[in-house]
Amino acid sequence: MFIPILVLVGLFILILIVIYNGLISKKNKLKSAESTIDIMFKKRHDLIPNLIETVKRYMQHEAGTLTEITKLRQALVGGTNMTTSERNNLENQLSTQISGLKLTVENYPDLKANTNFLDLQRSLNEVEEQLSAARRAYNASAVNYNNGLQMFPSNIIANMMKLEEAAFYDIPEQEKTNPNVGNLFDA
């Protein structure tokens, strides 16, 4: 009689361990996905000074946009006490400004033929593509993690561990509309 009870208790403990470890694993994957996004953001920040230097000689009329990009970059690189939401908001604004800049380059054929600019453009496209992939990977991890928090029986353990749901990476309203190139250069 004693042995079956022991086996049942052992099985129950084993299940608890598996669920606990599963939740930790999902949480760590989420953190890893988030740090990949940070790496991509940093790569983008590193490209911007070279971009500004290359472009400003040709695009003297677009000084406002270039200043705005520089300001956003400085805020992101220097902003150590920013919340994730504030950081994401600034990164989204930066994405919009860079997209607008790429559109405006069409009006500057000399710049379009500049080898340094072409290399930078490729690097920026690469970073944007990888950033998009990293965000999607993060969202997939967030779905998996949130499922673990909400589904039975792991939700019981998750509540005991006081785990909070992860937010998805979402595109804010300002970026859902196409950037108005005219507005970008009114500054």
Partner: protein, 310 residues
Amino acid sequence: MVEFDTLRSELTDKFQAVEAQYKIYKRNQGFYIFGLIVLCILSFVIAAKFTQNPFFGAFPALAFVMVFLAIRKSQKKKIANLFKSSILIPAIQKGFPELKYRSNPGVHKSDFLASTLYTSGQVDRYNSEDLFEGNHGDTAFRFSEVHAERRETRSDGNGGSSTHYVTIFRGIFMVADFNKSLSYTTRVIQARDGFFEKLFNRKTKVSLENPEFEKIFNTYCEDQVEARYILSTAMMERIVKLQKMWNDKVNLSFSGNHVYIAINHARNLFEPDLSDKMELEQVERIFKEINACLKIIDTLDLNTRIWTKN
């Protein structure tokens, strides 16, 4: 590319010469069959006379049938080779001057293995033919027909065993230069296949956002981000479109600098079909098959080169 209709008049004379030989081959069919029947009857008659048992005549009769079939197959193959060398290959060279064509061998076995699409077991027999190679825009590529098999040995319960070959893949296999730099191997394979794949590779499975894509394909990659870097929302739509274009099983893998595309196809492509009659329109059909393969590169948009990989 030069349209087939432009070449039609150039090919007509050569075609008529080959067609004449084909008509003789068809006309002789009756004569050969008559001769075979006579020989088989003689076999049974002689066997009955000398052994009192006419069924012994079945052995030489069977031998005659096999010789007949071998002779006819050899004659047919000779005409098919003549059609290919005197009409088809010159037509392909004129119609697709940007392509290099080679009858044998096709895509090398090392490319097939490098794709990791069909390497869950050993590839024991590998044949490839009709290699097309060239550049389509900025994309270097090569494709051919491939037939890969594995050997299976079965014991018959009496201590003996029999060996037979099972097809792993048969169809078109293409290797093309991919337009993004890759560090891992990403495999996109049919969801209805690969039961063991799903069982043993759960950790590397990538769940993607396109429901139509997810219904048809399962994706596997060690790196979740790189898989999504390759399979953007637009690329997933293109792959689904490719599947629908061919209406056959399409499997892809992305590795090194290449994309490997494997399209299952039971029919023998790039070959004249002499089962019924010989027509110059068969060259037109083969032109369409080649164009369909070249279209793969446009469908996957491999010529968009806006990232760091040149």
